[in-house]
């Protein structure tokens, strides 16, 4: 199989997995597995996962419409992928658990950036403060999900990559 075909197929599969995973946990506010999946995908497939993040934003925009959060998604997920890609040499299981926790805790702060340009610092701060209880829940749940699921998912992705090398 040509490498480009494999890459396009794998990017499509990653997008599908992330979209399904997001939908499956939407009934619990601010509990999501998207952060963990982007970390794992970036760890195994590198910076090209940014394309998945952009496609994910596109799919979510088609489902939920265009609003300020579309802008947030355009930099939040690529930023996470870049962090994982740049730190992979020194990172460990625990690093990713705490990265997940910090990303959840600061998710609201990162998302509030567009509000600085919309209404200034006060609007940005007020918007961030309103969401702090959800950010705390987000950080704790991200940590627990990574703690429990990182190793089995990492193992599964390693197997997938090994089998792909035989194609």
């Amino acid at each position: 199989m040509k490498k480009s075909v494999y890459e396009i197929a794998s990017l499509g599969m990653m997008l599908a997995i992330i979209e399904v995973a997001k939908r499956s946990l939407e009934f619990i506010p601010n509990v999501e597995i998207v952060t963990l999946l982007f970390i794992l995908f970036a760890l195994h497939f590198g910076k090209k996962v940014i394309l998945v993040a952009l496609a994910f934003t596109g799919v979510e925009s088609m489902v939920w419409g265009i609003n300020t959060w579309n802008v947030m998604y355009l930099y939040i997920w690529p930023l996470l992928i870049l962090i994982v890609d740049l730190t992979r040499k020194h990172a460990s299981y625990w690093f990713y658990c705490f990265l997940s926790a910090f990303y959840g805790l600061f998710f609201g702060a990162l998302c509030s950036i567009p509000y600085f340009f919309i209404g200034g610092l006060v609007t940005q701060f007020t918007w961030w403060v309103a969401g702090i209880p959800y950010d705390v829940l987000h950080g704790i749940s991200n940590f627990i999900l990574c703690l429990v699921l990182f190793k089995p998912l990492d193992f599964a992705l390693t197997k997938v990559r090994q089998s792909a090398q035989n194609l």
Binding site: I66, N67, W94, F98, L105, V136
Partner: protein, 139 residues
């Protein structure tokens, strides 16, 4: 540095950040204002027609004021309580169904898009609250 020491430092950092965030939240969260307050409530329907209500209330949060107005008889609303608070489904008998046509009820506070739901939005003296029927239109 030992691996266990790094983990402990990271765990302490997470707890410290949660503590700081909670402090910031409780110092800056919307504060209810006791006593009698003047208010204006506007309902802007899908055609842009505006119906206004003015008066004084002891309600501390917008939902309390909505309940007072509903009890008075000339205002009505329906909604569902979710994890993020009250989701307004209809105002004055006009239903906004996002799943059907992308319609929803927005809350504006003194002309600015509201940051909180009706349960959390404090009522301050002289506030104007606008319930606006809005429709998301795909680009």
């Amino acid at each position: 540095m030992k691996k266990s020491t790094k983990i402990i430092i990271a765990a302490v950092a997470v707890v410290a950040i949660i503590a700081i965030f909670c402090g910031v939240y409780f110092a800056n969260r919307p504060q209810a204002q006791a006593g009698t307050k003047a208010y204006t409530v506007e309902v802007k329907d899908q055609d842009g027609n505006v119906k206004s209500y003015s008066g004084k209330t002891d309600a501390e949060f917008l939902r309390g004021l909505m309940d007072e107005l509903a009890a008075a008889g000339d205002f009505s609303y329906t909604g569902s309580d979710g994890d993020y608070g009250l989701y307004i489904e209809s105002v004055n008998g006009i239903t906004a169904d996002y799943n059907t046509d992308g319609a929803y009820w927005s809350i504006y506070v003194n002309g600015e898009y509201g940051m909180y739901g009706a349960d959390q939005q404090p009522v301050a003296d002289g506030d104007t609250f606008t319930f606006a029927y809005e429709v998301y239109v795909a680009e």
